[in-house]
Symmetry: C2
Subunit: 266 residues, 2 copies
């Protein structure tokens, strides 16, 4: 089984990804996790709701989620992006079923209502944050769908232990899902050639990275890439044996990643 | 099996409905179809996108759906309403799974791109309407979920034969789904006591209506109620034997409808 996590940038080639999935799933079961970052930011701007990005004391960037931000999140991720991707896969002959982490308790998260953030050099406490960290994934529901010819397409939000809808990091949730499914190969597709030493220089691609050097590679990860590398680390710790970071913008994003373009971490 | 169709008005008691479903599903399998009319109208207004209501030459009201309107529809129905209802059911111990008609080709529709409308006494043709009429429902996916302890929660949009996402009438789709599942009892919950002779007079409730008199009862149906009565007719034609129209605003909307409050059509 291969788990493909596709980012949420505007330049991703969804048709190319769907075409590759259609071809690949003839020989290996595929599950997909997707983002919707660009759609969310666009919708938030149109509604006049600013996306509030915060930085943790350890320097990791995330989004503060109040009720209004969570509604925007639901609309962009579970509404627009998920159903558009499902329809795109259907056009390519893949019988996709879209699910959020709320459906069938697919992704159960521990809510993290209080958030420590760094603000102007000071550490501050933000309350009522509707975010959580996924700790448990419902692999049974995914296997049920796969066994009957459906291709699951998943995305945040998750559901908390108290049955609230909570925003969650898709990369981290994908790692938990991969572990629950016993997935050995994960592919992360985004808007870059792979992990780059210098984000401005495509030729600075790190094409092979031994698993032992992931921690050290964190110095190359900027912005959203930080969470991906953290998720990579988490995925290896829970049994994944091979992770490929690839360019989601090309003609054949999945095929290329499997052919060894991008960054291969083993 | 009972199919419950809940409208999309702002005054519906979702918690009450979820509580009743939790109790009822111990003895009979339940599937849900829901609307999100109020959320859609609210979102469209906030985004400055008018909801364009049109009237067919035969006097039936519907919404003209261009790409922008379809995006709003996806966000409100598949995003906000569906996931909120799933989380609400989860809070009441129902392991709900939310699906749109696009997922697993749940609702396949014939696209109806050209729309005849009555405008100032004249009949006009509107093109590029992203709407369709559901003709086929994937009962297998719903049975698969039910057989494994999940409660399906469905809503428009649907998927067209050409794999486009299309807006569709939830009441009509619910009737097709009921037929595909061999459902005998359907319950429609909305913001009225049932079918009223006069919408302004709750005491004008028609509490029993023989099936043969549905056609005649169309004179009492105003606005959105028209499509419900058409769906009722369609459902009977495809094998449903009992339809209950009930008040979705009460403490126990489902229990009350089954106890014979509201309108019973047999």
């Amino acid at each position: 089984m291969i788990l493909i996590k596709v980012g949420g940038g505007p330049a991703l080639n969804w048709d190319g990804i769907a075409r590759d999935v259609a071809e690949l799933q003839r020989t290996v079961p595929i599950v997909l996790v997707h983002g919707a970052n660009a759609l969310r930011n666009d919708l938030a701007a149109r509604l006049g709701i600013p996306v509030r990005t915060v930085v943790s004391p350890s320097g990791i960037t995330s989004v503060y989620t109040d009720q209004e931000a969570l509604d925007v999140f639901l609309m962009a991720y579970a509404g627009l992006a998920n159903k558009r991707l499902v329809a795109c896969l259907q056009r390519h002959g893949v019988n996709a079923v879209g699910l959020s982490g709320v459906d069938g308790r697919l992704w159960e998260a521990k809510a993290k209502k209080d958030l420590l953030v760094r603000d102007n050099g000071k550490t501050k406490l933000l309350r009522d944050n509707l975010t959580g960290r996924v700790r448990k994934a419902n692999a049974g529901l995914i296997r049920l769908l796969l066994d009957h010819g459906y291709t699951p397409v998943m995305s945040a939000p998750a559901i908390s232990d108290e049955n609230e809808i909570v925003n969650t990091d898709n990369d981290g949730a994908a790692a938990v899902m991969a572990a629950a499914l016993g997935v050995k190969t994960m592919i992360f597709l985004f808007e870059a050639a792979g992990l780059l030493r210098d984000p401005e220089q495509p030729e600075s691609l790190i094409s092979r990275l031994p698993r032992a050097e992931i921690e050290a590679a964190m110095i190359y990860a900027k912005g959203r890439m930080q969470k991906k590398i953290l998720a990579v680390k988490q995925a290896f710790e829970s049994g994944v044996s091979e992770i490929r970071l690839g360019d989601g913008r090309g003609e054949h994003p999945v095929r290329d990643a499997l052919a060894g373009r991008g960054t291969l971490i083993q």
